[in-house]
Subunit: 114 residues, 2 copies
DNA sequence: CTAAAACCTCACGTAGACGTGAGGTGCAAG
DNA sequence: CTTGCACCTCACGTCTACGTGAGGTTTTAG
């Protein structure tokens, strides 16, 4: 598939896909004419990338983590990083939960006032 | 208190505090000589600002939400926004929870392999 | 009164994930 | 063979929450 269709299917922009290649996150093949050729699973990979971005990871981390999802082998470094990022996300969830509680209080207080 | 002490107590930089003033999030008084004079509760307010920033809200939203935490009155607009941001944060927590599960799987798989 | 902190106001620099043309090429249709 | 859309490669622009001097003033310690 070409870049336009992947963009439509995955919901990201063409520019974003080129950026992912530049960052080494999703490197497609090339047609004889030089156009990018993506395989089917590229869409899944894009979703994974977006999910990790949404968790606050920078491209470098995503580039280091994606191989762990592809292959079934992990180096010590990768395992340490997996744990670190997992812990970071846990802390992030805890903080968001606290913020949510705070906003809930405000909403409830407003509702009680009419 | 002056800006340096607030910075130390709240853990943010002096520059950040000036920025908060510029954004209308935390506007201190001024000494006769023109220096910023903060009250005690400024530290709490800084923490609230940081918490909202951490939840992904931009300055504009924070500026709109902070009054809800100060006064006990809310406009319709404020209440709608409170709900909207609350829902956004809920969704964010859900997505992070999914990401966490995914990373947990990877960590567990790596652990099982030795 | 003086020196040194600590503060002040511009105002440009930064990082990250793209947006947005500019100018040129590949490819399927007619 | 030519239109025309989708694609290509630079390469500068954008937005946010500050970082980082430059150059000058206020406050405090001695």
């Amino acid at each position: 598939m070409r870049i336009g269709e992947i963009a439509r299917r995955s919901g990201v922009s063409v520019r974003a896909l080129r950026y992912y290649e530049e960052q080494g996150l999703l490197v497609p093949g090339r047609s004889p004419g030089g156009q990018r050729e993506y395989t089917e699973d590229a869409v899944q990979r894009v979703r994974a990338i977006q999910q990790l971005y949404a968790a606050g990871l920078p491209s470098r981390r995503v580039a280091e983590l994606l191989p762990c999802m592809d292959t079934d082998t992990t180096t010590d470094h990768q395992r340490a990083m997996l744990r670190a990022e997992r812990d970071r996300i846990r802390a992030q969830i805890d903080e968001l939960t606290a913020t949510l509680a705070r906003l809930d209080e405000l909403v409830d207080a407003a509702d009680r006032r009419g």
